[in-house]
């Protein structure tokens, strides 16, 4: 008989449960991961809207924005995965790629579109 059977163990706590500091404890990398999933869903929604309601500038911008955002986060994962950027720079990578994304977005929206 192990000690666990004698004692009345409580189920493990789950990250964030009962924790008033949940948001503050979420680090940059985890936000990046979360937002990548969220933006993927947003792309799906905006893509469908874009195909059904054509030529709505606001919608088109939303789609472009979410795609850029998603791509930025995806690039971060690719660069780190392939060891092209050291993990030490993961936060810098977020900022740098974010900036690059914003510039590309501006070029596409104001220059080409």
């Amino acid at each position: 008989m192990t000690i666990a059977n004698k004692l009345n163990y409580r189920q493990p706590l789950h990250r964030g449960v009962l924790d008033p500091n949940r948001i503050r404890a979420t680090q940059a990398g985890m936000w990046a991961w979360l937002w990548q999933r969220i933006s993927a869903l947003a792309i799906l929604v905006f893509l469908v809207l874009h195909l059904t309601l054509t030529y709505r500038p606001l919608l088109q911008f939303c789609l472009l924005f979410t795609v850029t955002f998603h791509a930025v986060l995806g690039l971060r994962v690719i660069l780190i995965d392939f060891g092209l950027v050291h993990v030490r720079y993961q936060k810098l990578l977020l900022a740098g790629l974010g900036l690059l994304g914003a510039v590309m977005l501006a070029i596409v929206w104001f220059g080409i579109y």
């Binding site: 189920q11 493990p12 503050r24 680090q27 990398g29 995965d81």
Partner: protein
Amino acid sequence: MAETKGGKKTFKVFRYDPAKGGEGHFDTFDLEIEDYYATTILDVLFRIQREHDQSLSFRYACRVAMCGSCGMVINGKEGLACKTVVADLKTPEITLRPLNHFPIVKDLTVDMEPFFKKYEEAMPYFDPAEEASEPAIVRPDTWERKAIDMATDCIACGCCVSSCTMAFWHKDYLGPAALNRSMTLLADSRDGLHDERLATAMESCYNCRLEFNCTEVCPKEISPTRAIKYIHRMAISQGPGLAQRLSPAPEPVALPAPEPLTPEMSRRRFLGRSAVSLGVVAGAALVGLVSVSALSAAFKKPECKWVSLGPLEKLTAAPGEVLTIYADYSLEDGFYKRQEHKPVLVEMDREKNKVTAFNSRCTHLGCTVHWDQQKKLFLCACHGGTFFPDGTVKSGPPPRPLDRYETKVSGGQLYVLEA
């Protein structure tokens, strides 16, 4: 010297009593702290135990961030109670709770068994490939040593596993600490268990979603994420053929009769096939959609536009003469903007006040037709096509008269409708 200051602080400590059971709750303790910089969370816990509640349970051993026993969640972030000083925590209220993902024994004490079980699974021991009588010398400046560097400093505190959401969602995931340990041995060229270790690590390493939580919280400043990425790359370079290396191909035997499909297998097959066919259909639809939208512009008929040939009064010609005027205009053709510069043959009849404009493309194969003043005929540059001044065919292969442009006069300018 750091600024010395102190004051009142509120500590909310998670309490759970195994004798009573239940969900657990937070107890609040107000403490007067003399010096925020000199007081660790472990000191605070001692004081709470001495001054407020002797039944408070927590773990510690070394008090100098070496043993890893005092890992807990301090203000939402994992850390060592003996290493964290009150000054590090800016909030007026400080929450202390046990590590996530481990069963709670009492208050802040958790059962670390799941942690060490996974650690064990990762084969955390060194097994030399060759027996050596002398200790091996690994120079600190070698690439091999640098690759593992800090990763060897793990004190097995469990903070990283507690911070990793993937360790919660994937029950079989070995987690950051075990994989970090795995990596230090995988990078060792003397390791005799390399293939087995890699196989185990590969089962797990793709559960990591690059959250960097483990890297952020590790009190030893280790980056398990980096270690996991190292394993990923190793898996790519050494993974193929690993199964064969581990279990050499068996002697070929006669094929057994095919087993009847179990419901489980047929369901898998069905799901697999559905997924593949759905993928194919979706792919085809996507390709179709993209190509149609990409090519539609190319198939579109170019728009007709009115092209100016210049002011009418300047177009003077002797009776019976045909003018050759060059029209310059741009045309959108599919994706491209095309600059046109082509002759238009204009016949003016001042008496009847009539203008006729001919397209200079021969109706046979499209060579350019020019006006011959001597012969008073339109001559094609090749194939011998000849047209009368009214555009009808005189001789040669052209099947029909020259094409005429629609014309209009507006604002004193002569326009032709050009495609």
